[in-house]
């Protein structure tokens, strides 16, 4: 067992733990915090099913962002879509061939899309970075962390592309390492520079996720302006402080 393997094994357990506990904690807080009043942005759906549709359009199509800014939407949507494609491609390192998902993951289409998705991801991120630098309004609202986040994602995408197209890594050994993590049976990590960079940055991303604006991912689902049904007249809504002290004057 090399030092590198020990360090990365420990790093990944720590990162996963922080990620799961940190994001879990936030989701718990969002779910627990009451929304005392009805505040959907109208026109809003008047049924629960309608809210599901509205939410799906936001999550899948980024509908509101599309209304707001076509460039930001384009780059943002490309980035997120390629992130999804890359995720599917990477499943082959985490699934054993016996898994019922394997035939799907192993599809030529999934693998190729994921492979070139890396370029799309970089393109999307570059577009977002360019907006942050060249649009005076967006530059004004950007903190150092906003730039660093884009650079981190670009470094992850870049190091991944390097392994795909320039300097291949030993993916059989890598897969053994990943599966070893899942089975609590540590296996040696192939020590290629790009792989170490790639994995190190991914671990960093997992660690900062619960403490950063990456919380937009779970947060969206809890946003009352988007997930509330527009029916305050039909159905009385009380939560938190509006559910306390309900003694109102009665008829008679």
């Amino acid at each position: 067992m090399t030092t590198v393997t020990v360090i990365y094994t420990a790093l990944f357990y720590a990162a996963m733990l922080l990620f799961v506990l940190g994001v879990g904690r936030k989701i718990f807080i969002y779910a627990r915090t009451p929304q005392p009043l009805k505040i959907p942005i109208t026109p809003a759906p008047t049924t629960k099913a309608g809210v599901w549709v509205r939410m799906a359009r936001e999550v899948v199509l980024f509908e509101s962002l599309f209304k707001a800014s076509k460039w930001t939407w384009l780059f943002g949507w490309i980035f997120h879509l390629s992130l999804l494609l890359a995720f599917f491609r990477h499943l082959r390192y985490a699934l054993s061939p016996e898994s019922f998902l394997w035939p799907l993951v192993n599809l030529e289409l999934v693998q190729t899309a994921g492979k070139y998705g890396g370029y799309a991801m970089l393109l999307g991120l570059l577009g977002l970075l360019a907006r942050r630098i060249f649009v005076d309004r967006v530059r004004y609202i950007s903190s150092p962390s906003d730039f660093l986040m884009l650079i981190l994602l670009m470094a992850i995408a870049g190091s991944g592309l390097m392994m795909t197209f320039i300097s291949h890594t030993d993916i059989v050994a890598l897969k053994a390492f990943t599966l070893g993590l899942f089975y609590f049976d540590p296996q040696p990590l192939p020590a290629s520079l790009f792989l170490l960079v790639h994995l190190g940055l991914v671990a960093l991303l997992l660690i900062i996720f619960p403490f950063s604006k990456l919380l937009h991912a779970p947060g969206l689902f809890f946003s009352p302006t988007r997930n509330q049904v527009d029916n305050p007249r039909e159905q009385r809504w009380t939560r938190g402080w509006t559910a306390e002290n309900t003694d109102t004057p009665k008829p008679g």
């Binding site: 915090t33 109208t42 930001t72 967006v138 903190s143 947060g219 007249r233 009385r236 809504w237």
Partner: protein, 497 residues
């Protein structure tokens, strides 16, 4: 005259460049102790206000999911940066919604997030200081809580919620805004924003009866405190005296008359407006709303109808049932509450009203969607009814109607510039500049379609338009009440039974 320049109206609305600090001098008068007292707020900045403000922020975040989620999830994508009328009219970057939220978010990060505690500079976190408070006071009174930014935010972050929270925090440490808080005090003491006592109200309404009789020869009644009436009308008190509001009130009375439905005003709850929403004050919001429940019970009415008022309709439609419901003592065959436009629209649908549209043939009319009606409420039983129904009422009353550009109406409507508790002369520069996008859209239909009048269903919009139209070289009386148009055209030929 004011010491600022009215922005020029150009061919197209352009997004202006960022010019920091153009509006940092804009700040409303601070409430004196005697104005704070009736609202149960400290009279002046309390000791240790920094800690108390931070503590209050924590309390609000813990008890309001919207605030919790909105403060965490912004990714600074910039989608909202060109959506606020105050930014478009002033170029001040702190009037970009995300930058306005960040005034508060930076403090939240510093005290309530790990990243802000450890690396404040990196994530833009700030200590709560006097200069931060001053900035809050200035820029959270440059938000009309119109929710336009939230339409475009990929996470639905609503700056109105953030600005309400900031105002509540400032009030709770003793720094309130004179305009709003003085008005709320008047409601508690007298029953309405204007401080119009019952005898004056009765007198005004009698005068209106005479005026209508003289103009039409018909006995249209303006009843007050009539027990057992079918409908309690809750309307903004501006309807009792301001122009063009009062024409709207006359219109409601004519509709009730023609429909043969008995109605009454209440001298106790003679106000639909609820400025406690603007300052984010929970207990005052509920206390104000409770007066309406009490009046409805006292008078024994069957229905509640709400007059033309934007934020009041939001409070009535979205919050009344929550705050002071359930309304199971009212007739559930009708929506509770019902908007006057819904009421009139229903009668039109039933063919119960007839109009001589020619009475409005001197006008080419457009409609200004008020923000709180457009983005925070509904009319009728389908989403977007709040856009269809007022237009249908107008079209029933006038022959010539034209809409403004699609990206300036409906859910994308621009604020009049005076909403959210900013309708005060100490914020006149902000109000004039903030109305630029609306004026721009208006100019376009004036030039292209010869529009002569703009109708609205909000007391604040109407007062704001009357004030700022002349700055943009439009006639002051261009602004109309929707029910003022109804009033001109409705036939008063009901057979007395």
């Amino acid at each position: 005259m004011a010491n600022f320049e009215t922005p020029p109206l150009t061919e197209f609305m352009e997004v202006p460049p960022v010019i920091p600090g153009t509006m940092e001098h804009s700040s409303p008068y601070i409430a004196k102790p005697e104005i704070q007292a009736p609202l149960a707020y400290p009279g002046q900045l309390v000791e240790n206000w920094e800690q108390k403000a931070v503590f209050k922020l924590g309390e609000l975040v813990k008890s309001n999911r919207a605030l919790q989620v909105f403060l965490d999830t912004c990714v600074k994508c910039g989608a909202c940066t060109d959506k606020c009328h105050y930014y478009l009219g002033t170029s001040d970057p702190k009037n970009m919604p995300v930058a306005r939220q960040d005034l508060l978010r930076s403090v939240y990060r510093r005290y309530y997030t790990l990243a802000g505690k450890l690396f404040p500079k990196l994530v833009g976190a700030r200590d709560m200081t006097k200069s931060v408070l001053d900035e809050w006071y200035s820029y959270f009174h440059q938000c009309s809580q119109c929710r336009r930014c939230s339409v475009y935010c990929p996470y639905g972050i609503d700056t109105a919620e953030v600005s309400m929270a900031a105002r509540e925090i400032m009030d709770s440490v003793g720094q309130g805004q004179k305009y709003c808080n003085e008005i709320i005090g008047k409601v508690f003491k007298i029953g309405n924003n204007l401080g119009l006592p019952e005898p004056a109200l009765v007198n005004t309404l009698e005068g209106l009866e005479e005026d209508v009789k003289e103009a039409t020869g018909v006995d249209v009644k303006f009843p007050v405190d009539v027990k057992g009436a079918d409908v309690l009308l809750i309307t903004p008190s501006a309807d009792f005296f301001a122009e063009p509001h009062i024409d709207g009130l006359i219109g409601y009375a004519k509709v009730f008359h023609q429909a043969g439905i008995s109605w009454t005003l209440s001298s106790y709850a003679s106000e639909a407006a609820n400025f406690s929403m603007f300052i984010g004050s929970r207990h005052n919001l509920k206390k104000q709303a409770m007066r309406i429940r009490e009046a409805a019970l006292e008078l024994g009415v069957k229905r509640i109808v709400v007059g033309e008022c934007g934020h009041a309709w939001r409070v009535a439609y979205s919050f009344w049932n929550t705050l002071v419901g359930p309304f199971d003592f009212l007739d559930r065959n009708y929506p509770v509450p019902q908007h006057i436009c819904e009421f009139t629209y229903d009668l039109i649908q039933k063919d119960a009203l007839r109009f001589d549209k020619e009475a409005n043939d001197d006008k080419v009319v457009t409609f200004h969607d008020s923000c709180n009606v457009a983005r925070a409420s509904r009319m009728g039983n389908m989403p977007g009814g709040q856009f269809v129904i007022p237009r249908a009422v107008i079209k029933a009353s006038v022959n010539k109607f034209v809409d403004m550009a699609p990206d300036t109406i409906g859910e994308a409507t621009f604020c009049c510039g005076g909403g959210g508790g900013l309708l005060t002369d100490d914020l006149l520069e902000l109000r004039v500049k903030g109305s630029l996008p609306r004026m721009q859209a208006l100019k376009q239909v004036v030039d292209e379609h010869g529009v002569t009048h703009v109708a609205a269903i909000c007391a604040i919009c109407k007062a704001q338009f009357s004030k700022i139209l002349p700055y943009y070289k439009f006639p002051m009386d261009m602004i109309q009440s929707v029910h003022g148009l109804v009033s001109n055209a409705i036939r008063l030929d009901r057979k007395e039974i």
